[in-house]
């Protein structure tokens, strides 16, 4: 962490940070307000190696010196870490319980969801938001979403989820008002799943 940054190796961020982050935020806000709807962040700049464009865009839009960020081991020490440190100025933490955001690119080797901060009874907003990068947001085993933001029900078929992941998400929902909130990204695309969403696994 104390290594000197090689500025020449750091890729640029938004050409116009004000407009860029505003456009990204509106998509993320829509995603969080309407769980399961997929949005496109193709207008965002290229992200460094290991991060998809949508993941990089979310980091640039939401991370700063006020947010402790937990990076999964695949990102630590690489170009992505240097890029986030330089552009966001976010403190990195190795303690998932301290993280406001967790950036996960290899979900299979990530800690159990319960390792992250579920928030406080009086301040449930102090929980970790997980930004999870997947191979694709479609084509996986479908689940059905219901709850706030969804008119009737919404189908979601995230690809590349490890076994038992949806059971952990269901357990997360059961603990409302406590809970983690999820932003899923793949390539240029993003969707979100707040703790308020009920997940039904098909065949249950």
């Amino acid at each position: 962490m104390s290594a000197v940054l090689d500025l020449a190796a750091i890729a640029p961020a938004f050409p116009d940070p004000t407009r860029g982050s505003q456009a990204v935020f509106r998509k993320v806000m829509e995603a969080m307000a309407r769980p399961g709807v997929i949005h496109d962040l193709g207008f965002a700049p290229d992200a460094p190696q290991g991060l998809d464009r949508a993941a990089g865009a979310i980091a640039l839009t939401l991370f700063d010196f006020e947010t402790q960020v937990w990076l999964d081991p695949a990102l630590r020490g690489g170009t992505a870490e240097g890029w986030i440190r330089f552009h966001c100025g976010a403190p990195l933490t190795a303690d998932p319980m301290a993280a406001a955001f967790a950036l996960i690119t290899e979900l299979g080797s990530a800690p159990e969801l319960t390792a992250f901060n579920m928030g406080d009874a009086k301040y449930p907003d102090r929980s970790t938001t997980l930004v999870i990068q997947l191979p694709a947001l479609e084509g996986g085993a479908p689940v059905v979403l219901t709850g706030p933001g969804i008119k009737t029900e919404m189908a979601l078929a995230l690809a590349g989820l490890p076994d038992g992941f949806w059971a952990q998400v269901q357990a997360n929902h059961e603990q409302f008002q406590f809970g983690l909130d999820f932003i899923f990204v793949a390539g240029d695309r993003v969707t979100a799943l707040p703790r308020s969403t009920r997940v039904t696994i098909k065949g249950d």
Partner: protein
């Protein structure tokens, strides 16, 4: 809709707030949407208007607005009141945004104390200016206590208050800021909208955001969310009704303001939603006092 030219040189950052403040507010908005009805604290900034003039709503708007948005601002339903005109001009100036009075055309609607009569649609965001975000504050002055009451879903005191109203008046006398329950979990103040507007909050296709600047709280009702106005089985929730129709447009199902016309007690009832009323008059509807000079006041002076 009036478009504003882009101004290359400006004294303030785009949309007035600095980028770090916007990020902080944006993070609070995401958590507020994830926990419907929960009051998320945020680092409210000093704004160029006094507290009580919409500082919470202005900060929410500033955090989400972009040059492609179409912005509408209403005060008690009207586009042409001082506060609404000032805030609308403020964002036209600092955010290069097109403004409108047309509810259907707007992408962001900032409001003080009303929900427009015309139904909102997906893609629209309704931003409420909130003086007091805590529905329990009138019953319990200490924030430490009300926060614990929300944490443990301890809302008996609110029902006692409604019961006392029934025992005193024979009915639930609260007409504005009528308490609501969000997804059967969080008690929420709808801001001082008339209870007439409470039923519009539930299952609304638009995103509803609430900002309290002085009290430093943001909360939200996502689209298609369950919103229940508290009541009792033998005293069910009811909205206001009027014996009069709108004097200008003849609307029978809109929220009406009473306007005193002279010293001899003459008065008229008109739609509080000025855009709704003007649209109806433009479509040929007429009330008993159609053509009254008040009808000419619904356009912002140039």
């Amino acid at each position: 809709m009036t478009a504003r030219p882009n101004e290359p040189e400006r004294y303030y950052n785009y949309a007035y707030l600095d980028e770090q403040t916007k990020r902080m507010i944006r993070r609070a908005i995401l958590k507020a949407l994830a926990i419907p009805g929960y009051q998320a604290p945020f680092g409210s900034r000093e704004m160029p208007v006094p507290y009580g003039w919409g500082t919470g709503g202005i900060q929410l708007t500033a955090a989400i607005i972009g040059p492609d948005d179409v912005y509408k601002c209403i005060d008690q339903g009207a586009d042409d009141t001082t506060n609404a005109v000032s805030i609308r001009r403020f964002f036209a100036q600092v955010a290069d945004v097109a403004t409108t009075e047309d509810t259907g055309e707007a992408t962001i609607i900032q409001t003080r104390h009303r929900i427009p009569e015309k139904g909102l649609t997906e893609g629209q965001v309704l931003i409420f200016q909130v003086p007091q975000p805590e529905p329990l504050r009138g019953l319990e002055a200490r924030e430490t206590e009300t926060r614990a009451m929300h944490a443990y879903e301890e809302y008996g005191l609110q029902y006692v208050s409604l019961y006392e109203s029934v025992s005193t008046h024979g009915y639930i006398a609260s007409t504005v800021g009528y308490p609501t329950m969000i997804e059967e979990r969080y008690l929420m103040s709808p801001s001082p909208i008339p209870k007439f507007d409470n039923p519009k909050m539930g299952d609304n296709p638009a995103i509803l955001l609430f900002g309290a600047g002085r009290e430093k709280r943001i909360y939200a009702v996502p689209p298609y969310t369950n919103v229940r106005s508290l009541d009792f089985e033998d005293h069910p929730f009811e909205t206001q009704t009027w014996e009069e129709d709108c004097a200008l447009c003849g609307a029978t199902e809109s929220y009406l303001d009473e306007v005193v016309l002279d010293d001899s007690g003459d008065r008229m009832f008109v739609c509080s939603d000025s855009n709704f009323c003007a649209d109806r008059r433009a479509a040929g509807h007429a009330g008993p006092m159609a053509g009254h000079q008040l009808a000419a006041l619904d356009k912002e002076p140039a």
